[in-house]
Structures are given as C-alpha cells and as structure tokens.
Symmetry: C2
Subunit: 352 residues, 2 copies
C-alpha cells in the first residue's frame, strides 16, 4: 500500500472503485464483489474493503453501474389515476423503501385511453431500462401492458384489489388490498345503527375494486339482517359528478334512503352536495359512508365515515419486492382495510 487513506482524502476528489481497490491492495473486481454483496469474498478481505469504503466515503456511481448492468438504477411508478393523495402516498411508500438503496424513483403518469399509451410506455422502458416498475390501479388490469412488461423482461409488481380469501391465482407479483374487510365493517356499522332503507352508489364496474367493495358492504349488511334496497341501487363511476347525480336521484324519491353507502369518498362528497341542496342534514336526515379516507373525508362537515387502505405500506411492500427479491414465481401479498367512524353516520330518525 503506497498511499495512505489520509493522503487520498487530502486530494479532495470523489473516490472511485479504483481508489478503493488501490488503497485496499486488491483488484477492483473484488471491490465490486463487496459492493454487490457477493458471498464469495473472504470475510477479512470484505471487512477491510468495507472500512475503506466508509472512510473515503465511496459511493458507486449509479450511471456507471447502470451502464454495466444494462439496467438503470431506477424504479418506475406507472399510473393513470386522478386521486392526487393516493399517488403521493404511493410515491412516499416506495421512497420509504428506496431511500439509501441508491435507487431512485421515476414517476410515469400516463393516459390509459390514449392512442400512444403502449408505445409511450415502450419507449420509456426500452430507453431507460428501469430495474423494475410498480403499476397502480386501474391500469394494473391492462393485459396488454402486462404482456409488454413481460416481453421487455421488466421486473414488475402490480397493485390491485381482491376479496379476502379469494382463491384466484396471482398475475405475476402483486400487492393486493382486501377492500372488502373494511367495507364489511362499514356495512355492519350502518345496519347496526338501525338503517333499513339503504342506498348504494357503485364504483366503476371496469375496476375490480368496485366489485370487491360492493361485496364487502353487502356482507356486513347481511350480517345484521340488512341489505341494499334493490330500488336504491345506483351506478356510479368513482367521480364526484357521478356521486352527485346518483344521490340526487336517490334523495328526490318520496321513500328516500336514510343511509347511502358510496364506493369512494369522491362520490360521497358529491352526495354531500346533493344533501346540501335538498336541505337535508347529515347525519340527522341522512347517513353517508365513503371509501379511501381521502383528504377531503375529514374536511367535509361533518367529517365522513369511510374505509382506509394502507396505501403507503402497499407501495413500500411493492418496492421491497423489486429491490430485495428476485422474481421467482407468482406471488401475492395481501393487506387489509379498516373502517374509520366519523360524524357522517348516525341512527335514523324515528319514523323514517
């Protein structure tokens, strides 16, 4: 060892793998093995190199590694979802896991129903070659996208919803939320309050979550001998406007519901508006239930009873699969949902 670490540090230059190798008296290939946690390095050698790496503050250059690996040290987050808080939570969760790993998060919003949806994604994947991607609902259901990912051999984790205990086979690796669990709690809550004229505003039927949630609500209601009134069963598409329109129809009826369950918070906010315009008080005249625990939920007056998903955790788990585990077989990781009771739910008035 002709040069000391102190002398090297005095130069004020960023350390490279060559510096570490020279200082440690080994080849850079051996340093590379330490960086990449190869098991075949003598423990003593590994410790020596690790210490030098720490002392000189060496951090391998992600560009150089990416070039040699033929794969960028980037994880892509692919989505077409209008719920800003959901997106931000997913980003935070992924970043929770990525921080310190030397891998960065690249965001890739896209437009599912655009002509160039697939070609744009192909461009991105072919030119950047990310180490992995996380695909969020609803485009996690796009078969062509999944095929593209398979064709380009991009490690991937999809996020979706499914009924708990459902025996359906996994599609690749996936993080699955059991939206039905919290919905069943919500159904039981509403029925337990004494409601029997219960309306429902459904989610977009193209998304699995719409069916999973509905099934959960029905299960909870049924446990208390209640059900969605067949004449109060309205379609919706998860948008504020669709919730508003559906609630207007429901609230104009002479035999209007005493409670309306909505498949998400956006539509529930639309129902607040309809109730406001019909001069109905919540929860005195009308109980309202949502799903998502969106920021709006506890900013509405009164705050909305809703169901929460561990969004951030889901993204953290997805990033973990990508970063620390090679894709072997199909695999499903499951998370629950939970009811959050707030001020929008109460007992129906006597006589209604």
């Amino acid at each position: 060892m002709t040069e000391t670490i102190e002398a090297f540090l005095g130069r004020g230059r960023k350390a490279t793998i060559n510096d570490v190798a020279r200082l440690a008296g080994v080849s850079k290939k051996t340093v590379s093995r330490v960086i990449n946690n190869s098991p075949s390095v003598h423990a003593r050698t590994r410790d020596d190199i690790a210490e030098i790496i720490t002392r000189v503050g060496f951090r391998p250059d992600p560009q150089a590694r990416g070039l040699a690996f033929r794969r960028a040290l980037l994880i892509g987050l692919i989505y077409d979802n209008p719920n800003a808080q959901y997106i931000v939570n997913m980003q935070m969760g992924a970043l929770d896991r990525l921080r310190g790993s030397g891998i960065e998060l690249v965001v890739h919003p896209c437009t599912w129903h655009s002509e160039t949806f697939l070609s744009e994604l192909r461009d991105f994947l072919e030119s950047q070659r990310p180490s992995g991607v996380i695909v969020l609902p609803p485009i996690a259901e796009d078969r062509q996208l999944l095929d593209l990912l398979e064709e380009l051999n991009v490690p991937r984790v999809r996020v979706t919803a499914r009924t708990s205990g459902d025996g359906n086979a996994a599609i690749g690796r996936e993080i699955v939320s059991c939206d039905d669990i919290g919905c069943a709690e919500a159904g039981a809550h509403v029925a337990g309050l004494g409601h029997r004229r219960i309306g429902y505003i459904g989610g977009n039927p193209d998304y699995p979550s719409a069916h999973v949630r509905r099934h959960g609500f029905e299960t909870g209601l049924a446990a208390h001998g209640a059900a969605i009134a067949p004449d109060l069963d309205e379609p919706g598409n998860y948008s504020f406007e669709s919730g508003y329109a559906a609630a207007r129809r429901l609230l104009r009826r002479p035999d209007r519901p005493t409670a309306i369950i909505c498949a998400n918070d956006e539509m529930a906010a639309g129902a607040y508006k309809a109730a406001f315009e019909a001069d109905l008080r919540i929860p005195g005249d009308l109980t309202l239930i949502g799903f998502d625990d969106a920021p709006i939920a506890d900013r509405l007056s009164p705050p909305l009873t809703t169901v929460r998903l561990p969004t951030r955790d889901m993204a953290r788990m997805a990033a973990d699969l990508l970063v620390s585990r090679p894709a072997t077989a199909d695999q499903t990781m499951t998370v629950p949902s939970a009811l959050i009771v707030r001020g929008s739910s109460g007992a129906p008035k006597a006589g209604l």
Copy 2:
C-alpha cells in the same frame, strides 16, 4: 457502406451509436454531434445521419450519456409540501416539458425540519448528479439549500411567490407567481358584494406567499373603500385546523364578520366546518374565500370561491429553463393568478 440498413434491422438488435456511424460511413463522433445538435456538422451529413437514426430507431442510451457527461439525464423535484394536488400538478407540468427529451423526473420529497435535511440532499445530489433540480415552496426559501446547490454546481430553478411589480432582485433562476393579482380581484369581489365586516385568516408568516396574498386582498378591498377589520384579523398557518380554530373565534363574536377571507383553501375548509357547527349558512350568513383552487374547493357545499395559480404551467416553465437554456444570469419568470367565483360568496343579509 458494406451493410444495408435493411440487413441491420434484420438482426433485431437495438441500434447503438456505432451501428449508426458504420451505416452512415462516418465516425461515431460525428453521430454524437448530431445527437447533441452541434452546429458544426455539414447539413448534408446531418440529414443523412438523421435519416438513418430514424430508420433504425436509434435512441442514445441515457446511462452511457450520463456517464460520459458526468451528469445523469435526470431532473430532480425537491419539496416538502403537504398539498398533494399541488405536488401532482407540479410533476405533471415538469413531465409535460420533459416528455420526449430523454430526461426523466425523479421525485425527492424531504423533511425540511429534520436533522438530516441537508445531508440527505447532498447525498442525493452527489451520487446521482442530476442535470438540474426544481425546488418548490416553502423550501425554495432555504438559504442553506440554495448554497448547497451552488456549491455542488447543480443547475436549479426555484419556485416562489412575489407581489407583482415588486422590484426585488431574483435569487438565481426562479418562477414567480403573483398571488396578489387574484387576491386583489377577490378583495374587490367581496367589497363589491357589499361586505364591510370582513375577517381574515392569514397564512404561515414564514412563507412569502402569506404576505403577498394578504397584500393582494387588502389592495382589492381598499379599491372599494373596504378593509380587513382590525379586530377580525386572525393568524393561521395554512392548516385545516388553524383555519377551523380561527374561524371559531371569529364566528363566536357578537359582531361576527359577514365575510371571511382565508389565505388558502385548507383553512377555508376549516372555516366551513366552524360555520357548520355554528349553524351558519354559506353564503347566506357568511361569505368565504380561499386560495389554491384545491380539489376540495369545488367539492365543498356550496363550492368555494377561490384564487387559482397556473401550477402546472409553472413547473413546465421551470423544466424548460433547465432543459433548454444554460444558466447564464439570474432570471425571473412571472405568472399571474386569477379569481374563480363559486357559490361561497354572496351579498351580506340586510341588517348585518
């Protein structure tokens, strides 16, 4: 040219700069000049190479370019801001400009008041060496962060708010919103409606926007001979809770305001809650004004009159500065704001 393009394409391999050079009968250096828009290439040569690039679908590898440039083809978005929609809009705006440029957007949320705020950022900047960063409010005010960016020589654009026509010197390159313009319109709107008992809930005074907005509201009010009542002037910090608490204080007074102007929508939503609890109707009993045009604004009942900023445009401009213009001198680009009148503002009841 010993090999034809057709023959090359038949191989089904991704084209590299070497393939293009060979096919064009030039050195790869010349191809590199074309990629990087160097002016010193014969027009004929350039066109020939450009055509081959198109035909073989060559896209330079960002990893290789990054390594050679000693700068990743990545733009970082740095922020500590709880407003999810604002963040998502900024991401969309930056991506609007970046799409097709070969540069990706890396998101970097951080915690301003954490011990490791600066060291984490330094790690990120030193190891990734992004081509540029966009810094969002409020951390765009952090002098130490700006110094760090200067020290590491990272091209940067900060986003901030300033009163229109303010002669303050730019701090580096910045995108500045004139929050006061829309606020002045809002002040004039409220005063024009006939309000004279006007309350105010201010923003966090540590942020420039709090002062700029207040100044705008006051200007608009003054133009119609009105003003914020000195006894109805409440501090706030942009949070829902601070808006709720301040509005409660204001609405409990016997001589309560007929209108409350809030420095953002979050606080206005808190004021809705206070009004709801005090059994006051909006706008009949109380006019409410916000700022941001957050998603919540038109989901409240009635929808909130507020001021909108062209958030997405600002990010697009910031990305454009970074991508297409070398940082020469300090530079300020300015955008206006505008009033959006909705249902939460109306004339005060006679007698109040």
